[in-house]
């Protein structure tokens, strides 16, 4: 009985209204899973120990992205649009969580709207960017856009910026490996993605030292394009662009005028990650 009395006494000392919260562990997002960095390293951001991605994590993410790419490109455009719209729905539902993490309400709203905007492009970009070519001969000649493949992205340091580099890459059937210095917002976005029917590996997110990991991706032979939108150090941008030349990656340089994520993106973020395939087919009876 003495034991029971002591336990009751202990409970009585707790104030009625407080509860110890369950904290979230912020890990990486690779191949649809949330692994820790294989290096075992973390770093402290706003009181959270977040994963510090390594070179090996970057390589694993490329493997996951490569594996996912044909299936994602093989999905119908309608299906890809539905998946992107689903991301908008899931993000809308979790707006408060991003706001609580310090993303402004207008920015979260704009990010939701950006997913909706890009979702609609899935089955239109080929019509806008492709063509039927009136060649001088009895041939049906058609040019259609196709994904360039695996895209490595250095994301800008804002939530809307992050969404604005991922969405155009995946709506065009590419798969991405994203380097971000916004670990909590990015991994919370990964949770949104993980519940939106995005196939595993289509979006992979590495948190930590973007400048340290970007060179591995820039020179990785199985990466097709490098989006440097988020690189603010011109020397690093130059070094990465040089690294990309080895396998002739498509490179999106950091915008000369700075990033304006609020403006309507236009076609360029999508068309820069598309290849044009032209098919000649004879006509005849």
């Amino acid at each position: 009985m003495a034991v029971k009395a002591a336990a009751t006494a202990w409970r009585r000392t707790l104030p009625e209204t407080t509860r110890l919260s369950v904290r979230k562990t912020y890990k990486l997002f690779i191949g649809g899973k949330f692994p820790r960095s294989e290096s075992g390293r973390t770093y402290l951001v706003d009181g959270d120990n977040v994963a510090l991605a390594s070179r090996k994590d970057a390589r694993d993410a490329v493997v996951a992205a490569r594996k996912a790419q044909p299936g994602w490109a093989g999905a119908t455009a309608y299906n890809r649009g539905q998946v992107l719209y689903r991301i908008a729905e899931m993000l809308e539902a979790r707006r408060e969580e991003f706001i609580a993490r310090g993303v402004s309400e207008p920015e979260v709203n704009a990010a939701v709207d950006r997913w909706v905007w890009y979702a609609g492009w899935s089955d239109k970009i080929a019509q806008v960017h492709g063509s039927v070519n009136p060649v001088a001969g009895p041939y049906f000649n058609i040019s259609a856009p196709e994904p360039t493949g695996v895209v490595a992205v250095v994301a800008p340091e804002s939530f809307l910026g992050l969404v604005s580099v991922i969405a155009p890459a995946i709506v065009t059937s590419n798969t991405v490996v994203v380097l971000t210095g916004l670990p909590q917002a990015a991994i919370t976005l990964a949770e949104v993605i993980a519940t939106s029917d995005v196939p595993a590996g289509v979006i992979n997110i590495l948190t930590g030292d973007a400048a340290g990991n970007a060179p591995w991706l820039a020179s990785h032979d199985d990466v097709n394009a490098l989006d440097l939108t988020g690189v603010t150090n011109p020397e690093l941008a130059t070094e990465l662009e040089r690294g990309a030349a080895g396998s002739l990656k498509r490179v999106l340089r950091p915008p000369a005028e700075g990033i304006d994520s609020a403006a309507e993106p236009g076609l360029q973020p999508m068309t820069a990650l598309l290849e044009t395939k032209t098919v000649w087919h004879p006509k005849g009876f």
Partner: protein, 472 residues
């Protein structure tokens, strides 16, 4: 087989001067040095051309820069008329230019006359029409030119590659400094004369002859806004490195190792014509050449027998003879490369075959050659030979054909031979290549975008897509 009497085209339609200067700001001027250009079919020196040094590059870029403002300010309809004029002059002088091209390059007159020159004129006509319609092209309501375009082109289609570069650049309001290949400078110099004939404002087009150093100095010049290069993947990499960290826009059209896939239901005679056209057209000096033949096993014997029979009828020799099918290899250096890689093919165990054919004693020649028993690991299956050398591999299923076709760092072109439309379209979807020819090969058209995937480069030339490289 019938014997053919020689039917040479007359050289007298071309008047080659004993020497040529650089074309800068509307004038021919001396350069830092000079070099000779030879007829690869005879090794005869055709003329001497100026070698552009760094000062010449400086002057040409400055001329293009000062011409840029007035040229880009012209109404599109006026720029269009200059381009239409140029197109017409090319048509009018096409016989002269065709003979010149065959003399300097070594390609058969039949090809320079029937393929290169008509396409050159068509390209200028096509882009002329865009000059006053750019706001409808889908690149924004107020598309702007970039400025000065540095353009470096190869020796395999000298005037056609010039047209692919110059026509869209001028239509969009850019000005140009172009460097033709070291071994084929003449048609570009004749084009300079055509610009004068068309009264094109001075400085809008500048032509610098020279070698690799001239090209490097040009693309690295800080006064250049746009670089367009067609050539080897290795040089493409160097250029991509050199423009890193600048605001220069870059398009690259590089090497290839195209698969030409023959399925068992293909019309075999037609396919064999396509195989021959795919690899022996222009002596195989074609970046999109069908240099890897993938034949379905069940028709391998039939295709090979028919191919060898057809190859035996190819006439190799004088490029100016209208009956010639395969002309001269462009240079001693290229001939050496073709020999080295072909020898590697034999050493690595592939079986080599060429039809009996007598090659001229002067000049640079290589007999049409086919290798069988080639595996994907062989150098002749992986490296671009850029000559009349075909590597034959086999496959059993469409999936295997696709796998093998895509097993290359290149991705410029591919061919599919089949009677089944649904199979053609399904396979075309899976091939990682910028141009896919179904039941045809090596077809080009100014309206049809051309360019590579992967290490075959980036950007497109031709068609509406071709405007993008020159617009901001």
């Amino acid at each position: 087989m019938f014997e053919y009497a020689p039917a040479p085209e007359s050289r007298s339609v071309v008047d080659i001067a004993p020497s040529y200067g650089l074309f800068i700001d509307g004038q021919f001027e001396p350069g830092a040095g000079s070099f000779k250009t030879v007829n690869p079919a005879s090794e005869e020196v055709l003329t001497e051309v100026a070698l552009a040094g760094p000062d010449d590059v400086e002057r040409a870029v400055a001329a293009a820069r000062s011409a840029f403002e007035p040229w880009s300010a012209l109404p599109g309809s006026e720029r269009a008329k200059y381009l239409f004029r140029i197109a017409r002059i090319i048509q009018e002088r096409s016989r002269e230019l065709a003979v010149l091209e065959s003399l300097d390059n070594g390609k058969p007159i039949r090809e320079s006359r029937d393929v290169d020159l008509p396409l050159v004129a068509a390209h200028f006509f096509y882009y002329a029409g865009w000059a006053d319609k750019l706001r409808y092209a889908g690149f924004g309501t107020d598309p702007r030119p970039l400025g000065v375009a540095a353009q470096v082109i190869p020796w395999n289609f000298p005037l056609l590659m010039l047209a692919w570069k110059v026509a869209p650049a001028l239509a969009t309001g850019n000005t140009v400094v172009l460097k033709p290949a070291e071994t084929t400078p003449l048609s570009a110099l004749f084009f300079a004369d055509i610009c004068r004939q068309a009264d094109l404002p001075a400085g809008v087009v500048n032509i610098l002859t020279g070698a690799g150093d001239t090209g490097r100095t040009l693309v690295e010049h800080p006064g250049v806004d746009k670089v367009a290069f067609t050539g080897s993947t290795e040089v493409g990499r160097q250029i991509a490195r050199s423009v890193a960290g600048t605001r220069k826009r870059l398009t690259l059209e590089l090497g290839g190792k195209a698969a030409n896939i023959v399925f068992d239901d293909a019309p075999i005679d037609q396919a064999v014509e396509g195989i021959v056209n795919g690899i022996f057209f222009n002596q195989g000096h074609v970046c999109c050449a069908g240099s890897r033949l993938l034949v379905q096993e069940s028709v391998f014997d039939e295709v090979l027998e028919s191919l060898k029979r057809r190859m035996a009828t190819l006439r190799v020799g004088d490029p100016l003879d209208k009956n010639t099918d395969v002309g001269a290899i462009n240079s001693a250096e290229q001939l050496e490369r073709i020999r080295t890689l072909s020898d590697a093919g034999s050493q690595e165990g592939a079986e080599r075959w060429s039809p009996p054919c007598e090659l001229p004693s002067q000049g640079f020649w290589f007999a049409p050659t086919v290798f069988t028993g080639v595996t994907q690991a062989h150098r002749i299956a992986r490296e671009e030979i850029f000559g009349p050398v075909l590597s034959v591999l086999t496959f059993r299923t469409p999936a295997e054909a696709i796998e093998k076709a895509n097993n290359t760092p290149y991705g410029l072109s591919a061919g599919i031979w089949s009677d089944k439309g649904s199979r053609i379209l399904a396979v075309a979807d899976k091939l990682r290549a910028g141009v896919v020819w179904a039941n045809t090969f090596n077809k080009f058209d100014p309206t049809s975008p051309f360019g590579g995937y992967k290490e075959s480069g980036y950007g497109r030339e031709g068609g509406r897509h071709g405007l993008e490289a020159y617009l901001a």
